[in-house]
Subunit: 549 residues, 2 copies
């Protein structure tokens, strides 16, 4: 009889230990009904990932332990099924990132994660101590080792499991998405597991958690490192494979990989949906400007939440062009979204008059531009407070990087859908979305003129973004090198950028750090977003003083 192994690609919610235990229970029942001998779940499947400082709360650890013990007992209901659960485990007052294997009502063994990532978005050394004592158990005549996520990004854990006799490696993961992450994971499995000539069962978490999106995309490699089964990306899935008595593995579905644009788009949709729904909001609100950023944000919001759960608001000023009004209406109509139009002029006039005595003798400057943006923020937040829908902000990564955005203005809101998309990616995804599916009456979801016209904030007459910023293709390339790839100044100059432009970008990035610190979270889709993986001091005299003086 071949051994059936199921990888349960679950969408666990952080802190929802009761709900997560239910999901694991249901997956176990499904796996048992399908004749499986092993059910593998993601890293920390019982508590969600990352639980952050919840791990410092005694009641959280105790409640997790209680539910773990319940699940262990319940395995008696699914005879012969080895259930692999990820959970935090207290040992002598310290905490281990653990996996418990339970079968027939008893604990078969417990593994503790060895390699604790403490870079980029990860802070595991804040919470966990390493363990790594190998766990190899028998199931259906096969010896299976256990490892957890970062363990397989290094060689030690797999080597130790192999040395203990493992004929296959079960890997619990909470591996967050960035573009083309699947290829990186596969390369790592091949480097550290497949070289031992054993299959690997890579079960990944799926779902959005604050700024992180876990893409699922679980897979199984055979002893030679070839992918023999692959789960869906960006959705819950059970992936079942068979291990033959002689050890060969196969028989599972092999989901097709996604294009780069589809990966990123689906990550944005899932991240937005889970943030809104897991936090119990009634829907989303998007301020439309007639520009491409807000149009794309609205499309993502509709795909994530449903048109009936999204409100669009157009808030024109005297600087808003007729074209913007027309295009915003067309966009909302194509997406079948309710659109409110509220002029900001009455509030602008009232605030300007109130401020006039304080501003006497001072020339107009960006203050007046920010004022317009902030009135829009106030209007959207009022609508949010009144309706329970969450304001989704519309700023992109290029703007957020250089501070081309207004704190408490267009930055006001609870979730920043496209904050990790450079402007170039905004165009790529807009075109992709238009091609993918048209809207009401066959209209383009993002009207072509929105894509074709030069970007403008429309906060003063005849303004375009390129009055203030380098051309977006230049800016984006610098940002990708500086922010995402961490290139040195010498490397960026060597790529052909001129010193003055680079100096300007550095200065703008550094001087807008304070804005980003107060920004809403949003989906991370690159190796480095402006979130947990960007921790620059606010008070920082380095960049401008040292490099370009």
């Amino acid at each position: 009889m071949p051994l059936q192994i199921v990888l349960a690609q679950l969408n666990a919610t952080v802190g929802d230990v009761t709900g997560n235990a239910d999901s694991i229970r249901q997956a176990a029942a499904r796996a048992h009904a399908a004749g499986a001998g092993v059910l593998l779940t993601p890293e920390l499947s019982l508590v969600g990932y990352p639980p952050e400082d919840l791990l410092l709360r005694p009641s959280f650890l105790r409640r997790s332990q209680e539910l773990l013990e319940e699940l262990v007992q319940e395995t008696a209901q699914w005879p012969g099924l080895a259930l692999v659960i990820g959970h935090p485990r207290q040992v002598d007052g310290r905490v281990v990132n653990a996996a418990t294997v339970a079968r027939d009502g008893k604990v078969v063994g417990v593994y503790g994660k060895l390699e604790l990532p403490n870079y980029a978005v990860f802070d595991e050394q804040r919470y966990f101590v390493p363990d790594g004592a190998p766990l190899v158990f028998e199931a259906g005549g096969h010896k299976l080792g256990v490892a957890i996520c970062e363990d397989i990004w290094f060689g030690r854990a797999a080597a130790m499991a192999k040395a203990e006799g493992a004929e296959g490696l079960l890997v619990l993961n909470a591996s967050p998405f960035h573009l083309n992450k699947h290829d990186e994971r596969l390369a790592v499995i091949r480097q550290h597991v497949s070289r031992h000539k054993i299959p690997a069962f890579f079960c990944n978490l799926v779902g959005g958690q604050d700024e992180l999106v876990f893409d699922g995309d679980s897979f199984v490699t055979d002893a030679s490192g070839e992918v023999v089964a692959r789960a869906k990306a960006f959705a819950e899935d059970d992936l079942m494979v068979s291990v033959q008595p002689a050890g060969s593995v196969g028989g599972g579905e092999v989901a097709a990989g996604l294009s780069p644009e589809a990966q990123v788009y689906q990550a944005l949709v899932l991240g937005t949906r889970d943030y809104v729904q897991k936090n119990g909001f009634a829907g989303g609100i998007v301020g439309l400007s007639g520009g491409i950023d807000s149009a794309l944000t609205l499309a993502i919001a509709v795909d994530a939440l449903g048109a009936e759960n999204v409100t669009a608001v157009m808030m024109p000023s005297p600087y808003t062009s007729e074209m913007s009004l027309v295009d915003a209406r067309a966009c909302a109509k194509a997406l079948a979204v309710e659109l409110h139009e509220v002029s900001i002029s009455p509030a602008y006039d009232a605030l300007s008059q109130s401020l006039a005595p304080l501003f006497k003798g001072r020339a107009a400057d960006t203050t007046e531009e920010n004022l317009q943006s902030r009135i829009r923020g106030v209007l959207l937040m009022a609508l949010s407070n009144k309706t329970g829908r969450l304001v989704l902000t519309t700023g992109n990564k290029s703007e957020m990087a250089v501070g081309y955005c207004t704190l408490y203005g267009d930055m006001a809101g609870g979730y920043a859908v496209i904050k990790d998309l450079t402007k170039g990616w905004v165009y790529r995804l807009s075109n992709m979305r238009n091609q993918h599916k048209t809207g009401v009456d066959g209209q383009l979801v993002i009207p072509q003129r929105i894509i074709d016209r030069p970007p403008s904030a429309e906060l003063r007459p005849d303004q375009v973004d390129q009055d203030s910023l380098p051309a977006y293709d230049v800016l984006d390339d610098i940002l990708v090198r500086f922010v995402e790839q961490g290139q040195s100044t010498a490397e960026i100059l060597a790529a052909g950028h001129d010193r003055e432009t680079l100096a300007k970008v550095y200065r703008l990035v550094r001087s807008s750090e304070y804005k980003r610190r107060q920004a809403a979270p949003g989906v991370r889709i690159t190796p480095r977003a402006f979130g947990r993986d960007w921790r620059f001091p606010l008070t920082n005299r380095f960049l401008e003083k040292e490099i370009f003086q």
Copy 2:
């Protein structure tokens, strides 16, 4: 001849490597002129602390190294002076938190920090690898060991230095302040250094860096662990002591310790001053309400920046009492601060009319309260944009904990002066400040009626805080136990709090996490503030589902 050792308690600015090198140079010149044989500086004195992700930038590491090498060469100008500099050091592509001892133009030795804190506000394992190979060097006939900050919170580093023959331990520190931290440091020195019967020279950083304040308060203990010299707190200082040929140490100033209130008040003043000045702002702006929080914030701002650099703005609504207007004016007058009065009614009316069509059929609720608060935020930010002065927010820790504050409203601003003060501490410091020094014409800086009246947000008729919140003494005690001391639910209940109140506080704390994530930084004065040391997920179903269902 006794050996003179100087502890240079410097205010280094993060990233300002050129400026910090100058400060070290000047301190060395002073020490040499005074006949010293050793000059000790704080941890990472060349680059400031914490440099955070600057440590991931190659150009930052390279520039630090260049300046270190310059300083090493310059020690030839101060013959016989051993200069101890804190700096990041690249070793085989990894970075060590190092101290270099240089004398007569040459490197005497380099030490690398052994214990890397990765808890509370610290993330050193994100940046550094541990070293810990002991460094003991000779100066004036004495053998001196070197350790860095966290090293002395454990036993290993001091024991290894002692084993290498150290007759005294030089400790470079960047130890952030919280209330009564000096006592903790002294206990630790006694536990890990003094038990080896050697003196300790504890040189601490001073100054504000974002949310952290380093209090200086450097000190020297003799071989028995008695404090024989102590530098000023909250100011730069050189502390010089003599080591006699037989090893006894003494001869330095012994600054008096400060009361708890004075410690906290000076921390707030220094943190605010350094944030404003190091970031190049022209001054501060405070929105006065006639309540105690904004009155205390204004007093701190004036003490930090000078009355001429502070602007106060009173923004009454129809719900603002005459008493509030009178008291706010008295407060500004006593502090000799310019006061603007701007009614929010015109903007409120304009916005309400604009929103009326969207709100048709919906009852008034907190939306209208938030609207008032947000108009004030918009006005203050406009004044900030126009004048280059930074808006200082006025929310306290009790409010921030339970979300009794408006995002983009009273939370709008660049620095949150009293965000780590519970309401009880707001009263303590207000009374202390009034007793300390009166204002213009001998008037109380914080009018007595502001202290005596029940707190109110004045956002609807006859509102007081206790309509919405538990009594502040109850709330504060729960918050101190839950937030600052990390007590379990069982412990908090055992202290006499009732289950319903605790459940309410938990629910409020959890449901306002998203507000705090977008809050301005502010001075940390407790062991756990709402900043780097409070990292709870936004999406988190734990507290309300598990404890009190």
